[in-house]
């Protein structure tokens, strides 16, 4: 089991930022108008200074060349570009939209974040991840993840025609529904030991992630890393905070934002 700490990218919050929103796992697709509209309204109205999308914004992404007008992906790009003209919008790839590339990022005005990234805000570091790389018990998934995150594999896929890529994406989705799961809920959860290693390496106390569709907060114990020991201060309590997925058509609807300010984290239901 690989619990080694990855390279940690750093994002320094602008001194002007007062609030930062985190969302993930919206799984936007053309067949879910309710979630699309909830997301569009949210982006148009959020008072946040920065919106951070922690993966799986899209149910599937078959390549930036699919985002042509008219089209659903193209519409999403326009909405993101409008949001990015008002406040910073950051995007981290998830396990569904790992093929989002430079062209769509440029068109939509989103700034890409590496997974994981340590956000420096309000005198602390907050570690951000989609979360799938930490679900170590699912050995098969981790092998799959290594494959699809390989640039050579991605190039080979993108060299296929759009029609072939759409068919391939449909196949994967249908396989998923045949196995009776509606996303990662049934998969392994985030490995606590690995999360502690990541947090220590990042010098952060809180990990914010999505992917599991299990919104909640989990204590991870006290940091034992020597780097965290400061005279006069106790070792920090480590924790991970899990974002909700979005499904505005569900009863009750799920559309939740995690909002960070100098006062800490707050969950806000949109729908």
């Amino acid at each position: 089991m690989n619990t080694a700490a990855p390279r940690i990218a750093v994002l320094a919050a602008s001194p002007a930022w007062r609030t930062i929103d985190f969302i993930s796992d919206l799984h936007l697709h053309v067949g879910d108008a309710a979630t699309f509209e909830a997301w569009q309204n949210y982006l148009a109205n959020t008072p946040a200074d920065a919106v951070v999308i922690l993966g799986d914004l899209f149910e599937v992404w078959v390549g930036d060349d699919a985002a042509q007008p008219p089209g659903f992906e193209f519409n999403c790009g326009l909405i993101l570009a409008a949001a990015a003209s008002r406040h910073d919008v950051f995007f981290m790839h998830g396990n569904r939209d790992f093929l989002v590339g430079e062209a769509f990022l440029a068109a939509s005005g989103m700034q890409v974040l590496q997974d994981p990234t340590a956000l420096e805000f309000a005198g602390q570091r907050w570690l951000l991840s989609h979360g799938d790389a930490l679900c170590l018990d699912d050995v098969e998934y981790q092998k799959y993840r290594l494959m699809v995150r390989n640039p050579a594999w991605q190039q080979a896929v993108l060299a296929r025609s759009l029609a072939e890529r759409r068919a391939f994406a449909r196949e994967i989705r249908e396989q998923g529904s045949r196995e009776g799961d509606n996303g990662p809920t049934d998969y392994a959860d985030v490995d606590a030991a690995a999360a502690r290693v990541w947090l220590s390496a990042a010098g952060a106390a809180t990990l914010i992630h999505g992917h599991t569709h299990k919104p909640g907060e989990h204590e991870l114990g006290v940091s034992s890393s020597p780097a965290d020991e400061h005279p006069g201060a106790g070792a920090p309590e480590l924790r991970r905070v899990v974002l909700s997925d979005w499904d505005a058509a569900a009863q009750p609807p799920r559309a939740q934002v995690l909002r960070l300010s100098a006062d800490g984290l707050q969950r806000i239901d949109i729908a």
Binding site: V30, A33, F36, Q40, G63, D65, A66, Q68, P69, P70, G71, F72, F74, N75, L78, I79, A81, A82, S161, L162, A163, R166
Partner: protein
């Protein structure tokens, strides 16, 4: 006054007859008829075909060369007509009022293409008519095999050519 109709004669596929909604989309209809009457659509192709979504044409020749067009027109997507199955709408770039000659036929109910707000992201696509005969021709074109050509995706591997467009 009855609505104008236009026949699209598609080589090896058949004829699609469009009825144009002159009352609700006067500018789009006048624009489309002007291209029809000057022969612009003759020997153009359906160059973007996405099953379960739409078929788009009216701007490219076989070989994917782009034909010169007239001025861009105002977007009439706020006319109340919806992008329902077998309706025809104006294609455009990311600027709302940028349609010229390209159009598309919806292959399903594409509600996300409808007008929601007078903004760049809400303008939507102007429906200006519907297929009144030849829906089976639309279905056949929708099922054509596609690939990448001339830097575009979703291009039929065998050209789907509009031999002529005729105003009735």
């Amino acid at each position: 006054m009855s609505n104008p109709q236009v026949e699209l004669h598609i080589a090896n596929y058949g004829v699609i007859t469009l009825e144009l909604d002159q009352d609700k989309a006067p500018k789009s209809v006048a624009n489309f008829l002007s291209y029809v009457k000057k022969g612009h659509y003759n020997n153009t192709i359906f160059h973007r075909v996405i099953p379960g979504f739409m078929i788009q044409g009216g701007g490219m020749e076989p070989g994917m060369g782009q034909k010169p067009t007239d001025a861009q027109i105002e977007n009439e997507a706020n006319n109340g007509l919806k992008n329902d199955k077998y309706t025809v709408a104006m294609a455009r770039t990311n600027a709302p009022h940028s349609a010229t000659s390209q159009f598309f036929i919806n292959a399903t109910h594409n509600s996300f293409l409808n007008h929601t707000a007078p903004s760049a992201q809400g303008w939507g696509y102007a429906v200006f008519g519907k297929v009144i005969s030849g829906t089976e021709v639309v279905d056949k074109i929708e099922a054509v095999k596609t690939g990448s050509k001339g830097g575009h995706g979703d291009v039929p591997l065998t050209d789907v050519v509009i031999e002529k467009a005729v105003a009735l």
